[in-house]
Symmetry: C2
Subunit: 132 residues, 2 copies
DNA sequence: TGTATATATTTGTATATACGAATATATGGA
DNA sequence: TCCATATATTCGTATATACAAATATATACA
């Protein structure tokens, strides 16, 4: 039952549960999550590593950015948990607020729209990043 | 989300998850659980206290025995978790083996069949208990 | 190659909670 | 009241994992 209890441990820290909920909407990079939650890079990164070890997420490097998304294919038990979470938590104010901030962040940042290489060679890139 | 994460914490320890699964079949006393799991009284009691604090179970005293069962009414989120667990875990060998041992223990012990007072005044009671 | 950026990991520390062993409490019966 | 039984709690300790701060790593670009 190690796998089973590891899933529960992974979801027993609030920020990890909220990250998983956000990732059901699609891929996010570390910098997005830092901004959405107002947390330090170290904290976000640690929890993503935990979720990765637990089988929830995969990462994709694009230039210097790391993009995280739900692993594919998901272990079927994890998939069932995520379906359960969507049913149970989607309507919670704190989760809806996270989604709202996610949309805000995604519309004001470029790192989600294409990969680092093309961004960095785009005129005006640094200007865009200054907003942080 | 404290309630939410507390539920995940409660289920993230294997023995607690297995106790909850057994209690879906009905009330059990501490001594039954000790025998089913082959664990010490202290360990069983501590985990039951944790489950009680987390809102999963209630206890009923009958003489010197404490009987535990799923709380009623259950918090609706906990109820949903338990329904999920039944779906996902009922067929696992370890869970089925727990149920088998539970049936064995319940058929060979009396403390489940009536309360302590009547048992203690029943002839042959101590003999029955010696089997332990 | 050297610098800057994004992310990951390490370090030192704090907290939650696990454990076994011992002790305390509550009940029932002599 | 005193003892036995069932259970709960405490004590001392070990482990997992949280945190912030610091440092390391990987990549991009000059």
């Amino acid at each position: 039952m190690d796998k089973t209890t590891q899933i529960y441990k992974a979801l027993s820290e609030e920020i990890r549960l909220r990250i998983v909920m956000l990732l059901t909407h699609g891929e996010l990079c570390v910098c997005d999550l830092m901004e959405i939650f107002g947390e330090t890079q170290s904290k976000i990164s640690r929890h993503l590593a935990y979720l990765k070890h637990s089988g929830f997420v995969k990462s994709r490097r694009a230039g210097t950015w790391m993009h995280y998304s739900l692993k594919e294919p998901l272990d079927s038990l994890i998939e069932a948990h995520i379906a359960f979470m969507k049913e149970q938590f989607s309507e919670l104010p704190i989760i809806q607020e996270d989604v709202r901030r996610m949309e805000e962040v995604k519309s004001s940042k470029l790192c989600e729209k294409s990969d680092a290489k093309s961004l960095r060679t785009t005129k005006g890139f640094n200007k865009t990043r200054e907003g942080k």
